[in-house]
Structures are given as C-alpha cells and as structure tokens.
Amino acid sequence: MLQLFKLAFRNLGRNRRRSFFSALALGMGLAILLLMASVLDGEMRQAMEGTIRLQSGHLQVRASTYNEDRTSLAWEDLIEKPDEMARKIASLEPVAAATPRLFASGIAMSGDKSQGVRVIGIDPASAANEPYIKGLVNGEFLKSDDRDGILIGLPLAEKFDLNVGDRLSLLINTSDGSVDTQNFVIRGIYSTRTTPYDKSTVFLTLAKAQAITRTENHASIIFILLKDRAQTEAVVNALQAGSLQVKTWMQMNELVLQTEQFADAYMIVLFLIVLAITATVIVNTLVMAVFERTREIGILSAIGMRSSRIMAMFFAESVLLGIGGIVIGLILGGLMVVYAANIGFYIGNMGVSGMLLGDRIYAHLTLGDTITLTITALVVALLAALYPALLAARMEPVQALHGGKK
C-alpha cells in the first residue's frame, strides 16, 4: 500500500503544474462550498435567532381565542393578570425571561407624514428587551413609570426626521373598537439592523399601552425566552396552560423553517454543480495521465499487475490529489469564512414578514459541515478516478505495450 502511494506520488510529480492545478480546482471547489455552507448557515441562524429575539420568543402563552393576525384587543382574547403569570413562568429553571407584552396596531404621525406601526407594550425591566437596549443609538430606554415616553426605530426617526425629545403622535386601536390619539415624547431611538422591523415597531411601557388601549391589567402574550431552545418541549409540558394556548418557536416560525429546508435543497443543487465541475477537472487530469502512460500500464500488466491493482494505482493518485485539494480548500475556505464571519456581507433591507433578517449576513461554519464537505470532496476525487482507473485496468497488455495501438 505504501509502495502504491509512493508510486502514485511520483506519478503526480511528473507533471507538477497539472497536478497542482487539479488539486487547486478541488481546493477552490471545497473553499466555495465551505463559504456557501457557512453563509447559508449563518443566514438561517441569524434569521431564526432574530425572529425569536425580536418577534416570537421561544414560547408564547396566549389566550385560547387570541388571533395573532387580527391583533385583537378584546379582553376575552387577552391574558388577565399577566404579571403574576409571567413571574410564575420566570421561576421555571430553563426560562431565561418571561414578560407580558401587549400588541396593538396604530399609525404614527408627525407633521404631514404618517406610518402604520405595531405598538408593543413592554415591561421595561425585563431581560427580554436586551436587543432594543443594546440597539439604542440615541437617548435612553423606557422606564417603568414613564407615562408619555415612546421608543422608536431608527428608520422611522429618519423618515419623520425626529430625534430624542421630539414629539410623535400615535393613533391607536382600543379594546372597545374605537381609536385614540395621544402625543408621546421620543425617549430613545433603537436599531436592531432589521429595517422592516425597526421602521414599523414602536414601544410603550406596558402600563401606558394598557391605559391607552383600555385593556387594563391584560396582555396579548407572555413572551418567553429559554436558556436553551432544546428545553422547549419540557417547558411546554411544565406550563400546564389550562384555557390558554402555548405556542412554540417552531410553530410560530414555520416560514423560517421552511425557508431553511428550501435553502438546504437549493444548496445541495449548488453543491452538485460545483462538485461536478471539480470532478470533471480531475477526470480530465487522470484520463490524460492514462493516455500518457499507456505503455507503462502495459509494462506493469506484463509483469503481472492485476487490473484491480492498476485501478488502485489511479485511485491512489486521486486520493493524493484529493488530500492536496482538501488542504488547499481548507486554507482558502478557512480564510474566506473567517472574513465572512467577522466582516459579513451587506445585504441591505432583505427581511420579509415573519422572517427577520439583519442587514448584514455573518458566516457561521459548523464542524459538521466542515467534516461533511471534506469527506464529500475526497469521495468526489475518488469517484472522478473511477472512469480513468477502469480505462487503465481494461487495457489489453499487448495493445498497451504498443502505446494503445494494434
């Protein structure tokens, strides 16, 4: 076996430039695949994490009749005494944060400009507000006793040309089906780098939101974040919701999950295209080698080398090309992934409803993807050697000794 690889190594060394470029082709293929896989994984991870942190949480407890699409404010569709329930849920070990939130739809107005917004009443003290606190670009976060403060997103502030301390008028639906209008002072401006979300989401304190929508001591949901999303089912079982409904992040983010599945399938097609191109280069290299070494194949056959061993010789060359390609691929791919993971790719305003995506994608390469793609590259190199190896093994020694003629 060692002799076989020694011979294979020397054979590759006969035409170093050609062997190098073949390995480079495989390496570049692997590098591109590593980058593609890491960008896709990063994108899907960000989409899911972003949607969970900003929109769905890991779990939501809702009234059984609550309809998310209608943003109902009718008391029977809301949770009564939500603070008490949130405290109980927060006491569960796997729960990182549980906080009541009230949703209402409204229109933000300033001067002659207006923008439809989703108003969210929050408990300013909750740890679930971290994305907005961390994302503050100006001003300060809401305080629990703030009765006329509002937190707005950066795109909305830019659209209205408003800053901290300016006033914003909010027309808001109420629980009795009417609307109310009130002026608020902008306390802070936040950015989650998710433009569609930031442009259309404003925050009030829960108490103020309850007061203006006349939903006194009620909330739309209990927003729950877990320490580990693997604990979802365990917490669902522990909640014993009774007349309430408990929605998991998987149920609430079907779009993201479906997009992830679609993206995975799409990636497989791209993988196959890249690998097919790479395989073609290797096939070409080895077929040329077979034709150049026809007489040698005849000599080896004449001195008793069996077909299987002749095949093994070409497979060994392919394995060596594959290993060379993998080393190149891991270095090139590693550099590209490090760049994409730290600097990221600016994608602009790409978020869609139900899937919140930041304006920049950061690559995330998993060990699993790296191992899978590395093994795949080696398998492709081996498969690519199959045709040339068979070509060599099927040569009749007499013809091969005459350079393929006779």
């Binding site: 040698e296 080896l300 001195i303 008793g304 077909s307 099927r394």
Partner: protein
C-alpha cells in the same frame, strides 16, 4: 521438461472488415533451460508468437500451455497471475517505469509477488550485481544509458525467479558493444540459473548466441534448428 508449448496456434487480427493472419497453426515446444531465438523478417509473426508464449495475448485458435497449464482461454487477471512469477519480459524499448529507480524497477515484480522487504532487498542487490549495476541502483532510467536500462530490464525479468524469459528484439535499440554485452549477460544467466530464454530477433549477430533457432515466415515455422555450440561473435 516443457516450459511452454503451443499446438496449432493461429492468431488473426481483425481491423474492421480486414483480417490479418499473423500466425497459422504453429506448434512449438520449448524445453526447460533452452536459449532459443525466434527469427524471421518483419511481419513474420515473431512478436505475435512471443506474446502468446508470454500469456500476453490469446490465440484465435489452438492451445498454449505454460508449465503444463493450458492458458489459452484465461481472462485478463488469470493471465496476469500466470505471468507474475513465471514469465519475465525484456522489451526492445527498455520498458522501465520512468519514475522508479533502477532498484525499484527490479523490485516491482517482487512487490507484486508479496515478497518480504528483506528478501526483496537481498534479491534486488544480487540481480543488480549480476548485471553489473550495483552502483546505479538509485538512478532513474533517464540517468542510465540504453545498455544500462536494458540490463536493469534483464534484472527485473529475473527477479521473481521465472521459468521463462521472453525478449523481444532486446538489442535492437543498442549499439554493437552494448548489444553484445546484453546477449552475453543473458547467455551467462541462462547458463548459471537454468532459466529458459526465448528471444525474437532478426539480427544475425544476436542469432549466433542461440542454441536453437526457430525461423518464422508468413506466420509459419519454416525451420527449427538446434545448434550444438553457439559462436558469439558480435
């Protein structure tokens, strides 16, 4: 004892609709220890007969036995198994593997036969000494002269202790002194080891080394002469 025997062997090559008869009903028996020349002009069937004796090719009709085994209808791998360890080849074009050193070229048949490293080392050095190339063991073919390459080929052919060595025009690409040296080495090894040599040639200076001369013409054996005493004057 017969090392190789053919019985009514014919070989017809077919290219498209055109058939070329290379050998016609050739029956020949080579005994152990012979030093036999196959002679004849180009196209007489020498190389074809050598390929059939060497189990490199299969006859269109007739039968070939090597060491008593009928090899006429063996498949590619079975023929490779017969060749390995039983038959050594020396070709006109030196036929060494260019990426391997002289040592490694001689070692190759031993590797294929699964010899232990220590056995291989001992055997290769013994053979390189026998052909006078001990000091060239680590040279690759492109660092050797034509005569030296052919001596390496002889050593390689002898490596697995074969019962038959077939040489196709072994001196055709060599100058006279080198051709003479090659024939002397082959003749000496035949004498010392008892291995059977059959070589195809049309060079009269080489034929003089033979102790038996089989002449071919148009695919037929035209004469088969045993020579009592070789007169090597090249």
């Amino acid at each position: 004892m017969e090392v190789v025997k053919t019985e009514n062997v014919s070989r017809i090559y077919k290219v498209g609709e055109v058939e070329t008869i290379a050998l016609r009903d050739v029956s020949l028996s080579i005994e152990n220890g012979e030093f036999t020349a196959l002679i004849g002009p180009s196209g007489s069937g020498k190389t074809t007969l050598l390929q059939l004796l060497g189990c490199l090719d299969q006859p269109t009709s007739g039968r070939v036995w090597i060491n008593g085994q009928d090899v006429s209808r063996l498949n590619r791998n079975q023929r490779a198994d017969v060749r390995r360890g039983t038959i050594g080849f020396i070709f006109q074009f030196f036929a060494l593997i260019p990426t391997l050193t002289a040592y490694e070229n001689v070692e190759m048949p031993l590797l294929l036969n699964g010899h232990a490293p220590s056995q291989r080392r001992e055997r290769v050095m013994q053979l390189l000494e026998a052909v006078g190339l001990t000091d060239r063991a680590n040279n690759r073919p492109d660092q050797l002269s034509g005569g030296q390459q052919q001596r390496v080929a002889i050593a390689r052919a002898l490596a697995p202790n074969p019962s038959l060595i077939l040489a196709d025009e072994p001196t055709a690409n060599l100058d006279t002194p080198n051709g003479k040296q090659i024939m002397e080495i082959m003749e000496r090894l035949n004498r010392e080891t008892g291995v059977t040599f059959v070589f195809a040639t049309h060079d009269p200076r080489v034929i003089q080394f033979a102790r038996r001369v089989v002449a071919l013409s148009d695919g037929l054996i035209s004469s088969d002469t045993v020579i009592e005493q070789a007169a090597p004057v090249v």
